[in-house]
């Protein structure tokens, strides 16, 4: 780990001003991803601003939404009765993430900001355009079993590792931030970006912009949501593929649908065309299979990860059937 200076503050405006003023400064919350990457020198900030004393740790249910503070821990969020009731997919996704120890440290804001687990990104001896723009991508012709089948580019085929973000797609979550130019609200689907030819850019946040909360609107749709994850072992593992799904059915027809996909793209992937195809039809295996087929339109495997295309289709059908039941 490279040497760095450390400071802490209980003021969000001071935290934002300090990081904004220094290109080499970063916010430090749970630290589970950042400190890990600093050990490998993938991250090498000159200054860490510890934000754990900021007043963003609470989860509060309002009349029309539940607000999860950015510093709420994954464990506390997963166990919170309002989250379990209002957005079951989010609670399920959090419980299916990491380990109890990591969930006790890692925060909701940090979960959204975590970096890919692509092994080439972590290994500074190999080529990675995300770590070192212009150096190439060792994954495209390398061991790419974990990698993306949708949304990748010639420069990057990594996958986004967050389970929670996929579930947030299914419940229309809003990310609230405070930055050098004030506050804003960003729908979760517009928060992460695709790699294109700038894989080092992963979100729409500016340098110094801080996540303060995630809001989940209360809706019947969100309360029916579920999260299903397939991985190489039963617990404590990242997704091979995952699905966050929600359906509402009225008079025998699907009135609304949400479908988020994980483990298959460089960002939490919303299958918008599949959602549209579901609306207005009766829930059935055939309708779910058609939605699954639409979701993988344009998907491409890179050899080792070809299996993800049929696997995600089957998982979409299974999860839609489970929320329709």
């Amino acid at each position: 780990m490279r040497p760095f200076a450390y400071t802490r503050t209980a003021s969000s405006s001071a935290a934002v001003a300090t990081v904004t003023a220094d290109r080499d400064a970063k916010f430090l919350a749970g630290g589970t991803n950042l400190i890990d990457l600093m050990k490998d020198t993938v991250e090498a900030p000159a200054l860490l601003v510890d934000i754990n004393a900021l007043p963003f740790g609470d989860i509060v249910e309002h009349r029309t939404f539940v607000r999860i503070g950015a510093l709420a821990r994954m464990s506390d969020t997963a166990d919170h009765p309002a989250v379990v009731r209002i957005a079951p997919a989010v609670a399920e996704a959090l419980l299916a993430s990491a380990s109890p120890q990591l969930r006790n440290a890692a925060t909701i804001g940090g979960n959204l900001m975590q970096r890919t687990r692509c092994a080439y990104f972590r290994d500074v001896a190999t080529a990675c355009n995300k770590r070192e723009p212009g150096r190439g991508c060792a994954a495209i012709d390398g061991i790419n079993r974990q990698h993306a089948v949708l949304g990748g580019s010639r420069d990057c085929i990594c996958v986004h590792p967050s389970d929670m973000a996929v579930a947030l797609l299914a419940v229309d979550a809003i990310v609230r931030t405070r930055g050098p130019r004030g506050e804003r609200s960003i729908p979760i689907a517009a928060f992460h970006t695709l790699p294109g030819d700038t894989p080092q850019i992963e979100t729409v946040l500016e340098h110094g912009e801080l996540i303060v909360a995630v809001d989940i609107p209360i809706s019947r749709l969100a309360s029916t949501s579920t999260y299903v994850k397939v991985r190489d072992r039963a617990s404590y593992e990242f997704a091979l593929v995952s699905v966050g799904a929600a359906l509402s059915v009225r008079d025998g027809k699907i009135a609304d649908a949400r479908l988020g996909l994980g483990g298959i793209a460089p960002k939490p992937w919303r299958a918008l065309a599949s959602e549209r195809a579901l609306i207005g039809v009766a829930p059935s295996a055939a309708a779910f299979e058609r939605a699954a087929e639409i979701a993988v339109g344009g998907a491409r495997g890179y050899g080792h990860n070809d299996f993800k295309i049929p696997l995600v289709k089957r998982l979409i059908v299974k999860s839609l059937a489970s929320v329709a039941a």
Binding site: F4, Y6, R8, G31, T32, L48, S75, S235
Partner: protein
């Protein structure tokens, strides 16, 4: 610089005071020293083990304010003012903590390297009031890897200690 940001510490060694097992430890360490390294290399408490050093094995599990975390993925300087509990702080003199006794009774280890982390994790699992059936114990102990594969006996030890209402 805004006035409500604390002074910058480091990168050189700075004074950091930790409260470990009820004892005050005045250390002089760089901000980059992890809690795990502070315990083992500076506070003379090597009971907490370094396995992977990247948050995948759980050997370094400690309790911070009663909650289990991986001490390898957090900085010591972040925990001034917190109550840190390591394996050295569980027994009461010569009297083992009931979870330690249960691991002995059920032979919940082979080489023993992961054991301090397993025991602290198990103490926290009971405090979290997780269900104590085998599937739940396995799920909520999944952050602690045992390379010897003593899982069966570890699950038995946790269940037995849970029944004693530790």
């Amino acid at each position: 610089m805004p006035v409500d940001v604390g002074p910058r510490a480091g990168p050189h060694p700075v004074p950091v005071t930790l409260t470990i097992n009820g004892m005050r430890h005045d250390l002089t360490i760089e901000p980059r020293v992890t809690l795990l390294d502070a315990l083992r290399e500076y506070a003379n408490l090597p009971g907490t083990k370094k396995g992977c050093d990247q948050g995948t094995c759980g050997a370094c599990t400690v309790l911070v304010n009663g909650r289990r975390i991986d001490s390898c993925l957090t900085l010591a300087i972040m925990h001034t003012g917190a109550r840190i509990t390591t394996i050295e702080g569980l027994a009461d003199g010569d009297r083992l903590h009931p979870m330690q006794a249960a691991f002995l009774e059920h032979d919940g280890f082979q080489c023993g390297y992961c054991t301090p982390g397993q025991i602290l994790s198990a103490v926290a699992l009971l405090a979290e009031k997780r269900p104590l059936d085998d599937a739940s114990i396995r799920e909520f102990m999944s952050g602690n890897i045992c390379r010897c594969g003593a899982y069966k006996n570890i699950v038995d030890a946790v269940a037995a200690a849970g029944k004693q209402n530790v």
